[in-house]
Amino acid sequence: MSTTYALELKDVRKNFGKTEIIRGVNLAVQAGERVAVIGPNGAGKSTLFNLISGRFGPTSGDILLNGQAIQHKKPYEINRMGLSRSFQITNIFPKLSVFENLRCAVLWSLGYKYTFFKFLSGLKDANERAEQLMDMIHLDKKRDVLAMNLTYAEQRALEIGVTIAGGADVILLDEPTAGMSKSETSRFIRLIKDVTVGKTLLTVEHDMGVVFGLADKIAVVVYGEVIAFDTPEAVRANAKVQEAYLGSSVADSQAGGH
């Protein structure tokens, strides 16, 4: 039996004008794996996420979600097939309450589509799921607060909540801890671990402590290519990676006792 990967990229390329940003990426992620995508600024990590989630179409190459090609699909079609993503810059619904943000995010997955013949208050499953999500991301005390009035850390949590709400199996998190303090980050990583149990997770991350703590595998992106994709130990030992990117930061983190 040939294995079907949860997410597979085959020679994916993306040009913006004449500039080649993604230069032939190959990546195969198995179901349930937690993958950290690391690389220097401008390496193309966010672009890669945008290509996978359908924000842009790739110039060439195939992207397969559970074996099905998604490279020409719209973001909402990809989402319906079971892939959900978060954003580096918080991207929620500012004038809706925490509860409404989450309820909006669960509606499609529960099959309510564009219906206008049912009252939201009568959708028991949607309301229960939204309440449950609110507990999971520890915002149950902020139920009726508008998203724009939350603190930054709370907005980041809501961003994760909206992302996982639809129950997608493949989750992409684009720098979930960006802009957070050290203590917030460690709490937040625990939260991410909790809410993504059993799911395939890809996350862009800068904090090396987080990367080695969270990930089963690490993908190193440099200049639009994946130069290594392996377990943390193997990546740490990889000469190419050390030369191209990690170098001093690995030495630092080892010295720091990570």
Binding site: Y76, N79, F93, C104, L107, W108, T115, S121, N127, V162
Partner: protein, 430 residues
């Protein structure tokens, strides 16, 4: 912000509000009994439906449409043609149902034209609606069989068989027909805001990009909402046709579309009930203010300008902000400021109004002499002392208003911080 998001199984407050609304519609013509007021009440009902349907786009969907009159207007035309068909015996439906023909027409054209319009959002959306509105208005001049040319299309609403003695001859019968439609349409449009599509429409307004990543096609959300808004707009148009018994090309014109935008905004687009206030003001402005002064459009423009700058949430948000202050028992601290602000504003407006009236008098009525009567005073439009006096009154008003406003803003800020503290305290107490 835009609604109370609690789902209690039995919401007492809501029942009270809707009963009061029904009662108000029922009793209004018994309190205001003159012919003029019955006519105005009927127009208010129509305007309420039109503005609420417009706000489905503006306030709830973030779609700034410059062409909503297309859907009300075409609804009006189809309804009056249907009325004439009933009169001539070619069509056999009760007159009471003609507004539904208007509604279906509005919906039909929204399906057709909205398909193009709602492919875009933001500025391109606004531009396309404007283009469509111009297109339809140009057509109204070309196809005079349907649009009736300069004279428009007239009809007689006393048509078909009378039902329980109701033949819609007297204005009061038409009022109650309009009131019934108003109640049902307002209820349905409110219900829409409580459905999955209605809520996703809010999400599309807030952040269309993210909506695409939670499984929804934003174009589809806008398109469906546009069609529903078109339906209610058409009903308003159909009621207008029955009320006036004549439909002229101005009902699809840019002026009408602009009025919907202006008064919906003035009433408050962020709250469901805002456009109702706007609609009532619209009828008052068009019927009463235009009688009172020739400069009414200028005053309207000034009010609009003032609101956009200082109260972008419209009258509804001003009410809600002060209700919040009242709820925390702090309205007592600022009511004297309100009194002062109102007085100084009145002085300022009296001075400015007198000068505006004098300018209009010189431009339009100078043959009638130089004297202008304004709020009981006799002014000489060519006299230096009149101008000097008016300017003095206006500047005094303006100066003291500005001083009071600054003081008021400080008080307001202090009260808001107190309220925030109070909320925090209650939160931690729980």
């Amino acid at each position: 912000m835009s609604a109370v998001y609690q789902f209690k199984p039995y919401n007492v407050g809501r029942w009270v509000i809707w009963s009061l609304f029904a009662l108000l519609l029922l009793l209004a013509p018994l309190v205001f009994t003159s012919n003029l007021s019955t006519t105005m009440l009927a127009q208010m009902g129509i305007a309420i439906i039109a503005c609420l349907s417009y706000n489905m786009l503006l306030g709830q969907g973030g779609m700034l449409s410059f062409g909503h009159a297309v859907y009300t207007g075409l609804g009006s035309y189809m309804a009056i043609h249907a009325l004439n068909a009933v009169t001539e015996g070619r069509l056999n439906i009760p007159v009471s149902l003609l507004p539904l023909i208007g509604g279906l027409t509005g919906m039909g054209f929204a399906i057709l034209l909205g398909y193009v319009t709602t492919r875009k959002s933001g500025t391109p959306f606004a531009m396309i609606t404007m283009g469509v509105a111009e297109l339809v208005f140009a057509m109204s001049l070309m196809f005079s069989e349907f649009f009736g040319g300069e004279a428009g299309v007239s009809g007689n609403r006393v048509a078909g068989d009378a039902f329980w003695g109701i033949n819609y001859g007297p204005q009061i019968q038409v009022y109650y027909l309009i009131a019934a439609y108003t109640f049902v349409c307002v209820a349905l449009m409110f219900a829409f805001t409580q459905t999955p599509l209605g809520r996703i429409l809010n999400a599309v307004r807030d952040n269309p990009e993210r909506v695409e990543f939670i499984g929804y096609n934003t174009q589809r959300v806008r398109y469906l909402s546009f069609i529903i808004a078109g339906f209610f707009a058409g009903i308003a148009g159909g009621l207008g046709a029955l009320n006036f018994e004549i439909v002229t090309a101005e009902v699809v014109g840019a002026g009408r579309s602009g009025a919907y935008l202006l008064f919906t905004f003035l009433g408050g687009a962020t709250f469901f009930f805002g456009p109702i206030i706007g609609a009532i003001l619209m009828v008052i402005a068009f019927v009463l203010l235009s009688e009172l002064t020739k400069a009414w459009l200028l005053y309207l423009g000034l009010v609009f300008l003032f609101m956009v700058m200082y109260a972008p949430g419209g009258i509804a948000s001003l009410i809600m902000m002060n209700l919040r202050v009242a709820k925390f028992g702090k309205l007592r601290q600022i009511w004297t400021s309100y009194l002062g602000l109102a007085l100084t504003a009145f002085v300022m407006l009296a001075g400015a109004g007198a000068m505006i009236e004098m300018v209009y008098h010189l431009q339009l009525n100078s043959a009638l002499g130089d004297t202008v009567k304004f709020m009981g005073a006799t002014l000489n439009a060519k006299g230096l002392d009149s101008w000097f006096g008016c300017a003095f009154v206006m500047l005094t008003g303006l100066g003291s208003f500005e001083l009071l406003r600054r003081q008021y803003m400080v008080e307001w800020g202090a009260i808001q911080t107190e309220i925030e503290k109070e909320i925090k305290r209650r939160e931690t107490a729980v």
